[in-house]
Symmetry: C2
Subunit: 223 residues, 2 copies
């Protein structure tokens, strides 16, 4: 009947038979899952945001579950490798601190909802933590952790012996560093409310952090 209107011509709808469609769906799902969580997200919202119909989502991903896993994997791959790479590298310890701070804060500023999403997902699916690390690094999760710890421990011990650093367990070192970088984004809504920030205010806050965090952290390492 009234199927006329503007159905047929799809000017906003790029024909896109190029193979980007799967990506479009992934992107839309990413956005929706990010702001609603996997459980709270509705596939309908995703298809709408992607500009496709439910049949197409089914065509590519079959179920919401699989789509969620794909999105989660992609998100994690976007966040983990950088830190792991830096911490496990053979750069000087002080270099690592500076690099982690810069890399993380810069990246997270662009995707401020990532930490909340990832932590939230892991809280409800702890089993994914292991799978995730394996998928990203290609080794057993505990192994990559152990490797990083070993590298850090060696560097720390050398400095402690030289009287240049206060002793600290490498695990505590890593968690402290990560906490400082990630937490502000994970707690963003609360911080914005309590500190009276708007988006710009938050960005300024992070900007300052980017300058002062590494020095702050390095001061804590002094003997």
């Amino acid at each position: 009947m009234i199927k006329s209107t503007s159905q047929r011509k799809g000017p906003p709808r790029p024909p896109a038979p190029d193979g980007q469609t799967e990506q479009r769906i992934l992107d839309a799902a990413h956005a929706v899952f990010m702001r609603s969580g996997t459980a709270g997200a509705r596939t309908q919202e995703i298809t709408k945001e992607a500009g496709v119909n439910p049949a197409l989502l089914h065509y590519y991903f079959r179920t919401k579950e699989r789509l969620a896993e794909a999105v989660f994997r992609r998100a994690a791959c976007q966040l983990l490798p950088a830190v792991i790479g830096i911490l496990a590298s053979d750069a000087e310890l002080e270099e690592k601190v500076e690099q982690v701070v810069q890399t993380e804060l810069q990246h997270l500023s662009k995707t401020p909802y990532l930490p909340g999403y990832i932590l939230s997902e892991l809280a409800h699916h702890p089993e994914r933590a292991g799978q995730l690390v394996s998928a990203v690094t290609g080794m057993v999760p505990a192994e990559i952790g152990a490797r990083i710890s070993a590298v850090l421990r060696k560097q720390i011990n050398a400095r402690v012996r030289a009287g240049r650093m206060h002793p600290i367990e490498p695990e505590q070192f890593a968690v402290n560093l990560l906490a400082m970088c990630v937490f502000p984004f994970a707690a963003r809504p609360m911080l914005m409310a309590m500190l009276g920030f708007d988006k710009a205010g938050f960005d300024t806050f992070i900007e300052r952090r980017r300058r002062e965090l590494a020095p702050f952290f390095l001061r804590a390492l002094r003997p």
Copy 2:
């Protein structure tokens, strides 16, 4: 038909006409919401865990929404006031650091899922952040933040002038301190996977943190 079995006699079901039932439901909801998130939780699971029937949940809370709000409020009241109280008190700055670390780590050790739950909820309902702070403190969220900042700033400035402390914005100070305390619990699943901890291992990790965190932090504050 087969309604016989053991329906009628309720030995496991304490009669509890005392008024604790509402609490029982709240507790059950708390547990379920905590491990599944509000969106992922099913009221059925809650009633089951509370040992009551759906009608009773409806009798007390009407909807899942209201129940969720009640649980969230209660959870937040369990977490916020302590820190706010300490930071806004007139104790010495070094005292505050020590007290926050001790209070938070001790409390969170007993309720390790709280941070994940709260951060997750706030990520999906940012508007609650404000309401929440108001409800807990009885003042505008930005105001309590400003008050804390003011107190801290005065203490920091005094120490900076005395050459005993490196300058730092009070907001950065507070966020750093909170991050160190809260993050390990929020990221617990991931840390356990990567560091190869089991529950006991995690507890040991936190135990060590309880001893070393305040000194670490105070070192970072030195000039």
